[in-house]
Amino acid sequence: MNFSEVFKLSGLLCKFSPNGKYLASCVQYRLVVRDVHTLQIVQLYTCLDQIQHAEWSADSLFILCAMYKRGLVQVWSLEQPEWHCKIDEGSAGLVASCWSPDGRHILNTTEFHLRITVWSLCTKSVSYIKYPKACQQGISFTRDGRYMALAERRDCRDHVSVFVCSDWQLLRHFDTDTQDLAGLEWAPNGCVLAVWDSCLEYKILLYSLDGRLLSTYCAYEWSLGIKSVDWSPSSQFLAIGSYDGKVRILNHVTWKMITEFGHLATINNPKIVVYKEAEKSSRLALGYNSFPQLRAIGTLPSAESKYEIASMPVSLQILKPVADRANPKIGVGTMAFSSDNYFLATKNDNVPNAVWIWDVQKMRLFVVLEQLSPVRSFQWDPQQPRLAICTGSSKVYLWSPAGCVSVQVPGEGDFQVLSLCWHLNGDSIALLSKDHFCLCFLETEGVRTTFGQLGDHT
């Protein structure tokens, strides 16, 4: 495992290009594009203000940089550095900006969700979509980029409009039986749309592409409902995380619940492995040979950690939620299926230090990782079942079915990993801190041996 040198960064804006060749990062009002392998600067663009949002177009040719404060979007071309484009939303303001899947249109949401403006880079045409709903996840594109579903609010009722992305023609428009629609998401196969209600009511609706209601699912009433939704990459399962600390898995044939995963704070099942992160004294670390690369890099920071297999029964640290505040820290807030569908990683917000990994084939809990500090984010390797976790400490944690490791990020000072993102082919991870970022390269073989050694040591 090797680490690149540390580069400057602001706003946690660091993105791999969809084709995997480039890495765009923002430093204040500058956009830096580097080659992923050499990390040489390929292009450097200067925007008008501090960049608040940056996004690659799907064909990796353009990058948009949004400056919400100024209501501005600037687009840069990688092929033609001299090419420029500036979109000004004027007094309407700007709260969100994104690419359409074809990479030739930009969708800007104005303030107060008055409308969505669709700017085309090919023609002069500008389209407006009225009545977009202000919600968590109001826009969803199908994975093939053909269709866009948009949540709308008209006459105090929720509606969904399905547009054809190629010419922004309205394909379907239907109202949904929701009190207050909170989000929608296409299944990866692009044929089913999941629409869920706000947290006040547990309700999820499944629509076909042609607007037919396929099924409605409601687990319980009179309590806070859905907190997160995730489709499995095969579109076979729909995982619904809710405020009751459970994940319910629906199947794609009958849309009935297959099973529910309860996130209990005490685990007493010898089949489940609980990895507990533990502080390691530096002396012990000197005799610890599993990370030769790490030692080769040099200075070992003081607080190293390692994973220990906890003996049953294990009780995880629970956070007492504050009852009289909005958005209580309870329930399953983050979920992610592994790219091969075999695992589901979840995080229960009132057990902030733990990541649960569920075996989807056997529909049971597989592994629990308990960190020393609250988990900030986790992401699956796009190529293999390998989960990277960061907790805001100077370590990055990797789990695979073979075992797990905690890796110290080298460098002077404290590199607090707040976020991370995988490269497309899964051989490197960008680790983002507040002001810096670095790349972590994983040689597949090296990682394997590391895992093996870990298995020996634990």
């Binding site: 420029h84 309407a92 023609t123 105090c156």
Partner: protein, 614 residues
């Protein structure tokens, strides 16, 4: 009492009897008073009696007293105190005998009464104590009753309270339920109100939004614009097309084709899955049939209806399956049959498995009995027992150690140790004494045996003598008769004797035992081997010694035999012969023994003498 009086006193006239009765009751005589007093109180009687009597009879009223007493006595059935008189007019004299009799009887009566009284008193006491006991019991029971009553009342009180509480709780529950209902209603109403408000607010919001939209958009905001260097080509390289009905239709078509392809894909998957499942099903079916068919015969023999019919179905199903494989995927037509057959087979299999299970459990049980497989419980019990034993043993060892230590500690105490030693010696002494007595007994036995042996030997000696005499006589006769014939006959005789001698020698070692007594003194090595055997024999200490000596003797005697000169063989031979004759001796009448007594001594002497020769 009246009857009794009439019987005992027939002489008295009925008249006088009545009068006497009358008088005794009417006249309150001092005696009657006394009798009454007796009834009332028995203890102060003895003293009163004397004083009373002294007052009763004085010098003046003797006559009257006597008559009075007479009257009284007659009324009580005693004979009259006066002598029987012939005439009425003559004054009757006092009959002293009668008086004495009466007195005696009265005394006896008195004693009896006293006895009875005593009995009654003791009984009274007993009854009194019984009474007291019963009263105690009564009091106790009463107390118990009281306490239980109190308890009962307490319990009743508690019950009442609990019921009260229960009622209260019920009431509370009801209230709570009402509350919940109310709250639910409130929630519902609030929800509706909230929704209503929300809608209102949203409408307002929408209005505002609309207005804002108009304001912002209608101003012809110059700022809203896109500055672009040059337009780029579309990603697909095509030109953008106009939105027309055509495109709309095309979009629809596309959408449907996407949906269709998705459904087709899913259907294909499902079909594949179905086919695989079918394959598995058929395989299972085949296996089931093959599994069940060998069992076909047995259940039929048992004439088990269910299985019989089911099995026939199995056969049908087997045929069906073939058909099925021909039809392959057209499942719908055969679905019902398929499910039915599967169900039947499953039932058969289930029953079969259950049967097997039963068998297995039986076998297992038997196995447990046969092989003495220790069940876990037994095992645990055993281990527990063993553990307890170990514990006990440990404790014992500990106590022993303690005792040892104590002993060691007290060993320096001389007095106690000496005492202990004394005890020990005493014990030993006792044991030695016992042994000594045992030995004595043994000695006596040995002596007895020896005596009997000696007697037998003497007898044998006598017999031998007799035998020799007989032979001598016989030989003499023979010789006398032979003298008439040639010398050859005499040689024959010699030969015969030699022959008999050799045969005796063969037997010698075998029959050495009876001879053993004689050379015993020799074996012991005692220098003074006197002619008296009786003296040397008691010295034998034990049976084992005896045995040893015997073996020595046998050796010794055999040596003797080897060294024996022809002259000496004769007496020796005789001894041997006597042993051979032992059996015959037993059968002989005892009367003969006495006459040989004199000779036996001489024999014994000569024999011992001879043994000492080597």
């Amino acid at each position: 009492m009246g009857d009794w009086m009439t019987v005992t006193d027939p002489a008295l006239s009925s008249e006088s009897k009545i009068t006497s009765q009358y008088t005794s009751e009417t006249k309150m005589s001092p005696s009657s008073l006394y009798s009454q007093q007796v009834l009332c109180s028995s203890i102060p009687l003895s003293k009163n009696v004397h004083s009373f009597f002294s007052a009763f009879c004085t010098e003046e009223n003797i006559e009257q007293s006597i008559s009075y007493l007479d009257q009284e006595l007659t009324t009580f059935g005693f004979p009259s105190l006066y002598e029987d008189s012939k005439g009425k007019e003559t004054k009757r004299g006092l009959n002293v005998v009668a008086v004495l009799n009466c007195m005696n009887e009265l005394l006896i009566l008195q004693r009896k009464n006293l006895l009875a009284q005593e009995n009654v008193e003791t009984q009274n006491l007993k009854l009194g104590s019984d009474m007291g006991h019963l009263q105690n019991c009564y009091a106790k029971l009463k107390e118990q009753l009281e306490t239980s009553r109190r308890e009962m009342s307490g319990l009743q009180e508690r019950d009442r309270q609990l019921q009260c509480k229960n009622r209260n709780l019920h009431q509370l529950l009801k209230n709570e339920k009402d509350e919940v209902q109310k709250l639910q209603n409130i929630i519902a109403s609030r929800a509706t109100q909230y929704n209503h408000d929300m809608k209102r607010k949203e409408r307002e919001y929408n209005k505002l939004k609309e207005r804002l939209h108009q304001l912002v958009m209608n101003k012809k905001d110059k700022k809203i614009a896109m500055e672009i260097l040059n337009y780029v080509g579309r990603a697909d390289g095509k030109r953008g097309s106009w939105r027309t009905d055509k495109t709309e239709a095309r979009n629809e078509d596309e959408m449907y084709t996407i949906l269709l392809s998705d459904y087709e894909y899913r259907q294909k998957q499902i079909l594949m899955e179905n086919a695989e499942l079918k394959k598995v099903l058929q395989q299972m079916k085949k296996e089931m049939i093959s599994l069940l068919s060998p069992q076909k015969q047995r259940p039929r023999e048992r004439t088990d209806d269910n299985t019989g019919t089911a099995l026939s179905d199995v056969e049908e199903d087997a045929g069906e399956m073939n058909r099925e494989s021909i039809w392959d995927l057209s499942c719908e037509t055969v679905r019902e049959q398929l499910t039915n057959s599967i169900r039947k087979q499953w039932r058969i299999l289930k029953s079969h498995v259950e049967k097997l299970d039963n068998q297995v459990s039986k076998v297992h049980l038997e196995g447990v009995n046969d092989e003495d497989v220790i069940s876990r419980q037994d095992h645990e019990q055993e281990t527990e027992k063993l553990e307890v034993e170990i514990q006990q043993c440990k404790e014992m060892i500990k106590t022993q150690q303690q005792l040892l230590q104590q002993q060691l500690a007290t060993a320096c105490d001389d007095d106690t140790s000496s005492l202990l030693r004394d005890c020990y010696l005493l014990e030993e002494k006792e044991r030695l004494k016992e042994e000594w007595s045992l030995l004595k007994e043994q000695k006596k036995n040995f002596e007895k045996e020896r005596r009997s042996f000696i007697e037998a030997a003497i007898r044998l000696g006598l017999e031998r003598k007799a035998f020799e005499e007989e032979r001598a006589i016989w030989l003499k006769q023979q010789f006398l008769s032979m003298t008439n014939f040639d010398l050859q006959n005499s040689e024959n005789v010699k030969l015969f004797s030699a022959f008999s001698g050799s045969s005796d020698r063969d037997n010698h070692t075998v029959h050495s035992r009876p001879r053993a007594r004689k050379p015993h003194s020799v074996a012991n090595g005692s220098p003074n081997c006197t002619s008296k055997l009786t003296k040397s024999l008691p010295a034998s200490p034990s049976t084992s010694d005896f045995c040893q000596t015997r073996s020595c003797v046998s050796e010794h005697s055999s040596i003797n035999i080897l060294n024996i000169t022809p002259e000496e063989t004769k007496p020796n031979q005789v001894g041997r012969e006597c042993t051979n004759l032992k059996w015959s001796v037993a059968s002989r009448p005892a009367s003969q023994e006495g006459c040989y007594n004199g000779r036996s001594l001489t024999y014994a002497n000569s024999h011992i003498h001879k043994d000492n020769l080597p």
